[in-house]
Amino acid sequence: MTLAAGIGYVLLTLGPSLALFVTVISTKPFLILILLSSTLVWLISLIVLSGFWKVFLPIKTTTWWPYAILILTSVVFQEGLRLVLWKGYKKMEDMLDAFADRVAKPRLYLTDKMQIALAGGLGHGVAHAVFFCLSLLTPSFGPGTFYVDKCSYAPFFLVSAIISLAFVTIHTFSMVIAFNGYAQGNKSDQLIVPAIHLIAGTLTIVNLASSGCIVGIPLLYIVALSTLAYCGKMVWKRLTETQIRLTHQNQ
């Protein structure tokens, strides 16, 4: 609607990520590089998906199942990429530990590993927010605004910003859960992450129905907040059990 509204939408989507960036990531240059690389990887995955789906677009039918297939393939592809990222991270961890030994610094702490996972997840989240929300915000800096038929309660930009915020949260914390699950070999953690992603993706299909976003968006936020809670619980458990193990060793 104006410059102020445009900046408002940007901050709505990226505000928490900016806070995370300034407090946790900006002090450690390595985490900034991890963030940039994971954003790039997400962009490449999006380009591959769009290249694959170019033939089938634009979808002219008003039924919902082509979109369901689209979301399904995209989520499956991105989760597969997460596995590849994990393998790459393992190799990098070994190289970092060897480097730490060479310069006589301590090896990676558990909190360091979790911060790397957080930076990776934040990279994915920021990429999502940038490409699905910010890149369409350019008209909002001008004098008018735009409403979508199916969800006419709020300007389109506001709705897409709110949805992107939920997805940023989901991407950021599911990466921490996933890496922790792969590190500990915990099957339930490993399976819950693709499940969350798929549920979140399919919840957005609800938005296709008329006034569907009234139902879809709160459900999406329930998923996002439960991801956050699950991640917090898991991290707390891991840190306290490591500390208990250390104090037992010292006794």
Binding site: L46, P58, Q115, C133, S160, G201, T204
Partner: protein, 399 residues
């Protein structure tokens, strides 16, 4: 947990130099994108640009695509030929030790860019924002700005932050002028310059390679506009430099330093167990000898010379800043999605170039990888990504 008292982990320092060069490149690109978005409504200005790059063919919107491409190719060939000729002239002048002339020319070109190009862009901005200022004040401010910039670029005793800022400003101004070229010419020119950079630095007869070899053999600095990513406050610099001086003095058999060794052996900072006594001296003695070492011999400082810049700082030529920003600025003229994609591609290319620099340890061209990746991502985004994302987002379908 007492982790705070232990040594900081490697995550705090690893990758610091890379981030220190990515930050000014990002600031330069961001400034050009903002300038392009604010000033982009003027289509009348672009038709009146006549530079070396449009000498062969002036693009017309009514031409067919093949004609535009041929014209752009002609333009770029002319431009690359002119740049090659000028670089060879530079090498010749450097060979005949006309370094003073080159330095004065560098200062003069900085004054031109800051004074004239900066002045015109300032006038555009004043027009857009309807800022109330009279021409005498503006002239005075502009003149001061330009002259301080010339000194910052010219003299090496300026505070490094001011020099770095002026470098970024010069990059932004030149890049904005380049974005005013017609569209096809810009893209073909970028690719042509990337290929030229590759040839000029890596081929045995390339002018830039000759220049670097001459500079290394004479142990001089190349007189050019180069951004040096040194930290603003460098606490480690004193100890590093003194470590070198100390090591040199030790080689000449200075007996005094040996006696101070055992006393300070217990204060070593590093904790690696298998370090020999010589290394132990290196790490700890500067703490004690700092008082005596204020009379540093200047010729030892010259050992640092070229290569990776003094004290291991990475040096990036200003031309690279300019062409990255031109790419991103051109992408901004289409849409912001291409800007984000090209930004990530350029940073990835820069990262790859820095990794190669660490592997090969010699001067490498910074343009090819980044520009080719940037152009690739621009084309891919425009052809594939945009439709996909707009289709999904406009139906509020996200994943």
């Amino acid at each position: 947990m007492d982790r705070n008292q232990r040594n900081t982990s490697i995550l705090h320092t690893l990758g610091e130099e890379i981030v220190r060069i990515i930050t000014p490149v990002s600031i330069c690109m961001l400034s050009v994108v903002i300038l392009v978005s604010i000033l982009d409504t003027d289509s009348s200005i672009s038709s009146s640009i006549s530079t070396i790059a449009t000498i062969a063919y002036t693009e017309d919107t009514s031409d067919s695509e093949w004609d535009k491409f041929k014209g752009a190719l002609l333009n770029s060939l002319v431009f690359v030929a002119v740049v090659t000729a000028v670089t060879f002239l530079l090498v010749l002048l450097f060979y005949f030790n006309c370094t003073k002339f080159l330095k004065y020319y560098m200062g003069f070109s900085a004054f031109l860019v800051l004074g004239f190009m900066g002045g015109e862009i300032g006038i555009f901005l004043i027009q857009v924002f309807k800022f109330a200022i009279d021409c005498f004040t503006y002239l005075l401010l502009l003149l001061n700005f330009a002259i301080v910039g010339v000194f910052a670029v010219f003299m090496s005793k300026f505070p490094i932050f001011v020099t770095q800022s002026y470098m970024v400003v010069i990059g932004v101004l030149t890049a904005y002028w380049f974005t005013m070229l017609p569209e096809w010419t810009t893209w073909v020119l970028l690719v042509a310059m990337a290929l030229y950079d590759l040839a000029a630095v890596l081929l045995p007869g390339g002018p830039l390679r000759l220049l670097v070899e001459l500079a290394i053999s004479r142990d001089e600095d190349i007189p050019a506009l180069v951004y040096e990513a040194r930290p603003i406050f460098d606490p480690g610099s004193n100890t590093t430099v003194q470590r070198r001086t100390w090591r040199d003095r030790d080689r000449r058999g200075n007996p005094e330093s040996q006696t101070t060794g055992p006393q300070v052996g217990s204060e070593t900072v590093g904790s690696s167990q298998n370090v020999e006594e010589g290394n132990v001296h290196e790490l700890s003695v500067p703490l004690i000898e700092r008082v005596r070492d204020h009379g540093l011999q200047p010729e030892n400082l010259g050992i640092e010379g070229i290569g990776l810049g003094s004290l291991g700082a990475i040096k990036l030529g200003l031309g690279d800043f300019i062409f990255y920003s031109v790419l991103v600025g051109r992408a901004a003229m289409y849409d912001f999605m291409t800007v984000y994609a090209c930004y990530l591609a350029i940073i990835a290319g820069l990262g790859i170039t820095l990794i190669l620099l660490a592997l090969y340890q010699k001067a490498l061209p910074a343009l090819p990888v980044s520009v080719l990746l940037g152009v690739l991502f621009y084309v891919l985004t425009r052809v594939f990504l945009e439709e996909f994302v707009v289709q999904c987002s406009s139906k509020l379908l996200m994943f």
